[in-house]
């Protein structure tokens, strides 16, 4: 049972950055903008997040630096795709390349430094409850924050008027525009939110996961976050399932290897991706709910003035 507890703790930690980044991207895509630069914004968030925490000694300031950096990069993306109506796919890819280079430059000064990892919650007695105590009440702040974020996004998208308008922009920007909604401004905020989340998710890596900064430390997690948004068929609830499923398979395959089950490790490493593809096929075949991609996703909108 102790092993199960340890596995669940590892799964939560591994899933959290994916969940945070994917939540941000989900909002961006729901407004009709496809930002493929998540990986780039994450890695710059990681560099700035670490830098902030290293200089000040505060995890919170580090996280804020990550959020700020991610937002700043997403603003560059917004200026290109919304302001100048440049192709979103190309700009997003360019943003990733820029981010990877930029993070190396920013981080060059503090490679090899280390910080104290983010503190974990500890409520006397409650956290010490066997098995469930540490899982429910002993995580670092990011884990709780990520779940709160998903709930907030769900409430926003489905229970507020602003959320409805945002979804309308993503489904049909011409109609939304005709109704008098500022499509580009709404999309800009959605892109900024996506950037902030990606920055925070990136900052999670050096602040809580592995408390040091190394260039390239996101190692493709931004791309997985993008895939998770598709996996969730653009719904926050399914995003949680997807992120934890992915994290769980990732960790379980490591444990299966350690236990010497004799299954080829190459296959095990591919499992999280295989599982994602299989679930994706099942969802699209089931066709319940009927929610697929936002209709205007990735299309450029130039308002007629």
């Amino acid at each position: 049972m102790e092993l199960a507890e340890a596995i669940i703790l590892s799964v939560l930690a591994a899933s959290t950055p994916l969940l945070i980044a994917a939540t941000g991207e989900l909002v961006t895509e729901r407004s009709g903008v496809l930002n493929l630069g998540v990986e780039g914004m994450m890695i710059v968030g990681a560099a700035c997040g670490f830098g902030g925490a290293w200089l000040t000694g505060s995890t919170i300031i580090g996280a804020l630096c990550g959020i700020f950096a991610g937002t700043l990069l997403s603003l560059a993306f917004a200026a290109m795709t919304l302001g100048l109506a440049v192709n979103q796919v190309a700009t997003g890819l360019a943003l990733t390349i820029l981010g990877i280079g930029l993070s190396g430059l920013i981080g060059a000064g503090f490679v090899g430094e280390r910080i104290t990892p983010a503190p974990h919650l500890h409520i006397p007695f409650v956290t010490d409850i066997p098995l469930v105590g540490r899982i429910l009440f002993g995580e670092d702040g990011f884990v709780y924050l990520s779940l709160a974020l998903v709930i907030a996004v769900w409430l926003f998208l489905y229970r507020t008027r602003a959320g409805l308008v945002l979804r309308a922009c993503g489904d049909n920007h011409i109609s939304a525009h005709a109704l008098g909604y500022p499509v580009l401004r709404i999309r800009m905020f959605a892109v900024m939110f996506g950037g902030a989340c990606a920055g925070l998710a990136g900052a999670y890596l050096p602040l809580a996961y592995t408390p040091f900064f190394i260039p390239g430390m996101t190692a493709g997690r931004g791309w997985i976050a993008l895939a998770l948004v598709v996996f969730s068929s653009w719904r926050p609830g399914r995003l949680v399932i997807g992120a934890y499923l992915f994290g769980a398979v990732t960790i379980l395959q490591l444990h299966a290897q350690g236990a010497g089950l004799g299954i080829p490790s190459q296959f095990m490493s591919a499992l999280p991706y295989l599982a994602t593809v299989i679930v994706l096929v099942l969802i699209s075949r089931a066709r319940t709910g009927g929610s697929t991609a936002p209709a205007a996703l990735g299309t450029v909108f130039v308002p007629d003035r």
Binding site: L3, A6, I7, S10, A14, I100, G104, G107, A108, V111, G112, R114, P117, L205, Y209, T210, P211, F212, I214, P215, G216, M217, A219, G220, R221, T250, I251, L254, H255, Q257, G258, A259, G260, G262, P264, S265, Q266, M268, S269
Partner: protein
């Protein structure tokens, strides 16, 4: 305004061109292909240190260029060719996966000399070089067996290639001299560099009862996890004590500088020839970080073992070597396995209760 701009551009172009030709005529251009970022604190970082040592040694006699984050496989061919076209006459490709691409480019440009790390294919203008890292692993095995309370070692592998497998075998052979029943749990990250995954692998190994972690991946993540949990670990490629002041036992450090200086000197003297260099503790290509966080008797044992290997009195792959099935492996090197057998190692020795992935 426009005319001024054009004139300025023309001046800059000619200035640039003359600068270029001047340097191209006098200086030997040396190129490097790196697998990771130079700040990975591991494999690539050590190659970068050696490049800096070259610059220090030869000053303005050479001009060095490096390309970092070059993925292994066919794609790297373009990067290698890019260095050739930029006028590099001596090119170091510093990872196993660049073997075929390097060979291909070498055949295409017979006047350029290539140096490929950790591979086994050579040509008249392509040398190979590597470190006998297994010598260090053998010492680590002895230390690990002495320090482990649970008798279970955790090993994080990158890819199941001979270099990594011979490392695992050497570790176990060393450990068995102390504790014949030592167990090892192996997790393959299927990546050289993914700090998050390496950390997860280390957590999984510790959760499953291992209490000493060794790794053949490049980041200090595993060391940091061991340190956090109050367990022990070995560094990889470079000094990692900063990430585990109370955890690091030692670290196998790659010391490429002497080799690089040798080769560049040979190139400058016009004496470069295709060779196969495999240096170990003796030639100081493999260096052990200080032995720390262990009692004096273990430290003494480690130092004695290191001295014995250095003096050629002890061979980690001393015959008889038993395969997993208990059968003796053919001994082609007299009283120890031949270099070729170690370089192409694709079997586990007796005592490893696991299978090589994909076999």
């Amino acid at each position: 305004m426009r005319k001024i701009l054009i004139a300025a551009a023309a001046v800059m172009l000619t200035a640039g061109a003359s600068l270029f030709s001047a340097s191209a005529a006098d200086k030997l251009k040396v190129g490097f292909i790196y697998l990771g970022p130079i700040g990975d604190l591991g494999w690539t970082y050590q190659h970068e240190l050696a490049r800096q040592a070259l610059v220090k040694e030869f000053g303005d006699k050479i001009e060095t260029t490096y390309l970092e984050n070059v993925s292994e496989g066919p794609d790297s061919e373009r990067s290698i060719e890019q260095l050739v076209r930029a006028g590099n006459k001596l090119i170091f490709t510093t990872s196993f996966g660049y073997m075929e691409p390097t060979l291909k480019v070498a055949k295409k440009y017979p006047n350029v000399h290539f140096e490929h790390a950790t591979g086994y294919k050579r040509d008249k203008n392509m040398s190979t070089y590597s470190g006998r890292f297994y010598e260090g692993r053998y010492i680590q095995g002895i230390i690990a067996a002495k320090m482990s309370k649970s008798g279970v070692l955790g090993y994080i592998g990158s890819f199941p290639i001979p270099e990594v497998i011979s490392g695992i075998n050497a570790t176990i052979l060393g450990a068995q001299t102390i504790n014949p029943n030592i167990k090892v749990k192996i997790i393959w990250a299927n990546s050289w560099f993914d700090p998050g995954k390496e950390a997860d692998a280390a957590k999984a190994l510790l959760d499953q009862g291992a209490d000493v972690i060794m790794q053949h991946t490049d980041s200090p993540a595993a060391m940091q996890i061991a340190s956090e949990r109050g367990k022990l670990a070995f560094g990889q490629d470079s000094e990692m004590i900063k990430f585990g002041p109370k955890a690091q036992l030692t670290s196998i450090m790659d010391n490429w500088a002497p080799y690089y200086i040798d080769r560049v000197k040979a190139e400058l003297d016009g004496k470069w020839a295709s060779e196969d260099t495999w240096g170990g503790l003796k030639s100081k290509l493999v260096v052990m970080a200080p032995y720390t966080n262990m009692p004096d008797d273990v430290k003494k044992l480690a130092e004695d073992t290191q001295a014995a290997i250095t003096d050629g009195k002890l061979f980690p792959f001393k015959c008889p070597i038993l395969g997993q099935d208990g059968k003796e492996v053919e001994c082609k090197g007299g009283d120890h396995l031949a270099d070729g057998q170690v370089l192409g190692m694709n079997f586990y020795v007796k005592g490893i209760d696991d299978k090589i992935p994909g076999k």
